[in-house]
Amino acid sequence: MQRMALIGVDEPLRGAVFSRLHRVVPASVAEANLVVVASATQSASERLSSARSGQSWLVTSELCEQPDLLKEWEAAARAAQVTLAVANLERFRPSRQLIRQQLDSGRLGTPVLIRSHRWITSARFDFQAREWPLACLQDLDVATWLMSSQPTTLFATTSQTTDTKSPTTCVVHAGFSGDAMAQWDFTLWPNSGEPYESLTVLGSSGAAYSDDHDNRQLRFRGDQAEAVTASEGCRPWVNLLQQFVDAAEAQSDWSKSVSDWHGTLALSESIRQVLRSRQAVKEDR
């Protein structure tokens, strides 16, 4: 039985998640062999000051959205003699897990196009600064994970508007080895409202489509029908934590998750450069 400390996930989600996990019990950081951190209320060194040598620590990718932050976590983990993993929760959504499973099974063939749309509302981002790469990180990571490689060519451009109340769109466009390609549409909305997302993966022998347009229910309670999101619920957390538990039992190495996230951060820096230069670049990774 594994003992897990889960920091930064509050009730009722916390209870819902633990009730669904196998072979693990909640524990304090001092008692745990697995520690999962999803809260940025403390720095990496502060958080790891209570670590015990030999523990496995996992931090969510939101806590390392800058290279310096990731390096800080790595240094603190080394000093505390714990192993470190980074997890992008987006990868663990049931929809994304299913697509990855279908690719791994070979049914879809080789991935040749990943196309995603994400329209984000104002909650997280500084719309004056238009923090594109930051807004894109999770989806960039999912795409490179599904492709199992990093881009070889990169282009990006943004819509231009003088109205700060208008949304802004950034299109990121990448080429991969084998002439595979990816195209992301990120749109930031400077107001409240529901987000929208869509992910299509075309393989050489099949395709997978996951789209909010399809995954909506209709609610009628007035003049106009409402489209209500069919949520994936707490399953992303359950998938992530169960896989972390399973990996601990199997003594699997999750260190690749850290190098993967380094790759995603490097990709976001390349996008920043392309947006500045307005020129496509060839990547050498």
Binding site: V112, T153, T158, T169, G175, S204, A207, H213, A280
Partner: protein
């Protein structure tokens, strides 16, 4: 652009089908409108026997004559409208010859295969004053609804447009299945052989990729929905699915990022992605972000799902209904002739789209974003 009330009153337009060797859907689409009637099929006497055979079959189906002389047919049958649907490389030539005789032109895609031919077509249409319509999908109900929403200012001014245009059709054997030592798949031979089940695309001697063949449709949407010119493109293109495309070095998948006037950006993914990749012929949709709202449009709606025991694998499960694209395109053309107005996709717009496709393919070759020239 016309309103969809219909322009059914007025004289009938006598139509010649100038080569029915490719798809006959354009001619059939035009005569879905009661003001258009087919009176003759015509082609040059020197076209290959298979072309004569197809022309004759089409003429027989409509019980009209087949004449092996284009100019004679246009004169003798007092033709008003030429419906031009030969091999891709003959599009401009037949359209130009019809226009020179004062005959209006409805042409199948693509507008041409070489810029010089397209420029000659533009010059001739301008000089003769006849009407020209590139057959397109702009009147599909879902796209018209989006156009109306934008016109009604429901979402404010357009900020970005994202188009997906996947035809889930095969084009012969999958890529990678040609046995070592076998010769490359011949483009024209494949197109001729696959005509029987309608899976031919890009008929002609010259191989054409999916962007060149089908790009007119989504780029026609983009033009109609934004009313803006494209200024710069970046693209990737590859043959990923079909041996035919790989052997002939033309793309069956392309992605294009576009910068338009007015600070608008757009993205397009287009491909012939294989029949296995969708149960109902493919995914075609538009996402439009406006300054005050957004639209997510599935081009196939309205539709009805039909499923039954022993259903053929290739039969679409979701059937489109209430699609009046053909009638409305023809109606738009009739209105343009009646009132000397513009058509839904005229020769200048067609040339612009041709240039966008050419620039996209150049970008895919060079890996660089390509600027498009400004219109005069």
């Amino acid at each position: 652009m016309s309103e969809p009330e219909g322009s059914s009153v007025g004289r009938k337009f006598r139509c010649a089908v100038l080569s029915a060797v490719k798809h006959d859907y354009v001619a059939r689409g035009v005569v879905s409108h009661p003001r258009f009637e087919l009176v003759v099929v015509a082609d040059d006497s020197g076209v290959p026997p298979w072309a004569h055979e197809r022309n004759q079959e089409f003429a027989d189906a409509f019980q009209i004559p087949y004449v092996r002389d284009v100019e004679q047919a246009l004169r003798d049958y007092a033709v008003d409208v030429a419906i031009v649907s030969p091999e891709g490389e003959r599009h401009c030539d037949l359209s130009i010859r019809a226009a020179r005789l004062g005959v209006h032109v409805i042409q199948d895609k693509p507008v041409g295969t070489r810029l010089a031919d397209v420029d000659r077509l533009v010059e001739t249409i301008e000089h003769t004053g006849v009407k020209f319509l590139m057959w397109n999908r702009n009147f599909i109900p879902a796209i018209q609804q989006a156009r109306q929403d934008i016109a009604d200012d429901s979402i404010g001014s357009v900020v970005s447009v994202h188009l997906e245009f996947y035809f889930a059709k095969d084009a012969g054997v999958p890529k990678g299945t040609r046995r070592p030592g076998y010769p490359p798949v011949d483009w024209l031979a494949h197109q001729l052989a696959s005509h029987v089940d309608g899976s031919d695309g890009g008929l002609g001697r010259e191989p054409m990729g999916e962007l060149a063949i089908e790009g007119i449709y989504p780029l026609g949407y983009l033009r109609m929905l934004t009313g803006r010119d494209v200024r710069r493109v970046f693209a990737r293109a590859a043959s990923q699915f079909h041996q035919l495309n790989a052997d002939n070095q033309v793309e069956d998948l392309a992605t294009v990022t576009l910068e338009l006037d007015g600070g608008i950006v757009a993205s397009l993914a287009i491909g012939r992605i294989g029949a296995a990749s969708h149960p109902s012929g493919g995914v075609i949709n538009a996402r439009i972000v406006g300054s005050r709202g957004a639209l997510v449009i599935d081009e196939s709606r309205p539709s009805v799902g039909v499923y039954y025991r022993n259903q053929p694998a290739k039969e679409f499960r979701e059937r489109r209904v209430a699609n009046e694209n053909d009638f409305l395109l023809a109606d738009d053309f009739a209105r343009a002739i009646d009132h000397d107005g513009a058509t839904a996709l005229d020769v200048h717009a067609s040339r612009d789209i041709f240039l966008i496709c050419e620039a996209a393919l150049e970008s895919a070759r060079t890996g660089q974003a390509i600027e498009l020239p400004s219109n005069p």
